[in-house]
């Protein structure tokens, strides 16, 4: 098991290190990610949404659907634990 695990981890590690070679440097302001959508959000979010925290603006407004999913995930987890562990009560 251990050997297999090491082998799998090694395989994944090689892919990851390989991928890093071509990544933008750490903190690179010219990276594609920062230039494209990142810059767009920073530019427009206050005008669009009107709150200071850009993260919250994206979280609740631009990507509100993701956050909706997130709440559902939490809800599901709660129901799951109820289904798995709860022994008394109505649920």
């Amino acid at each position: 098991m251990r050997k297999k695990a090491l082998l799998a981890v090694l395989f994944i590690g090689i892919i990851l290190f390989w991928a890093v070679e071509d990544m933008p440097a750490f903190g690179d302001p010219e990276s594609r990610a920062a230039r494209h959508t990142g810059a767009m959000y920073i530019e427009r979010s206050y005008a669009d949404v009107g709150i200071d925290n850009i993260v919250t603006a994206i979280l609740a407004s631009y990507r509100g659907f993701d956050t909706f999913g997130e709440v559902v995930v939490i809800f599901t987890a709660g129901m799951s634990v109820i289904l798995l562990l709860r022994r008394e009560g109505r649920l």
């Binding site: 509100g64 709440v71 634990v81 649920l91």
Partner: protein, 143 residues
Amino acid sequence: MRENVVIRTVVRLAVPFIQIFALYVIVHGASGAGGGFQGGVVFASSFILMTIAFDLAYTRRRIGSRGTMICSALGIAIYEGVGILCILYAGNYLEYGVIEAALGIPHLHGYLIDLVEAGIGITVMAVMTSIIYDMANRGGRSA
């Protein structure tokens, strides 16, 4: 035990502050670090603190399984409700802008986000509490 009294007293004092802080975190999400999720977790942690200091039954008297159930549904319902409301105001799902435009209230967009964050907070608080209840409840019909 003697320490218990100290702990309980401290907890009794601390819990309201934690809860107020949680509410602050939820509302503060719009202007700084924080938000519904973090606030909800902080709120839930007040119940965890109670459970540790007292026992499960004590906490359950504050908010029982019915309460957690209703709150966890309520939070999502708020979120959904805001989304559907936007549709009723002839926008897309979760398009807060249309409500702001329709009602003509400035900054409503931000307030609606606060509302949604509150919804998230309620659900997270309820679910986390519920999970802790179920995890801490060691079998039997106690609590």
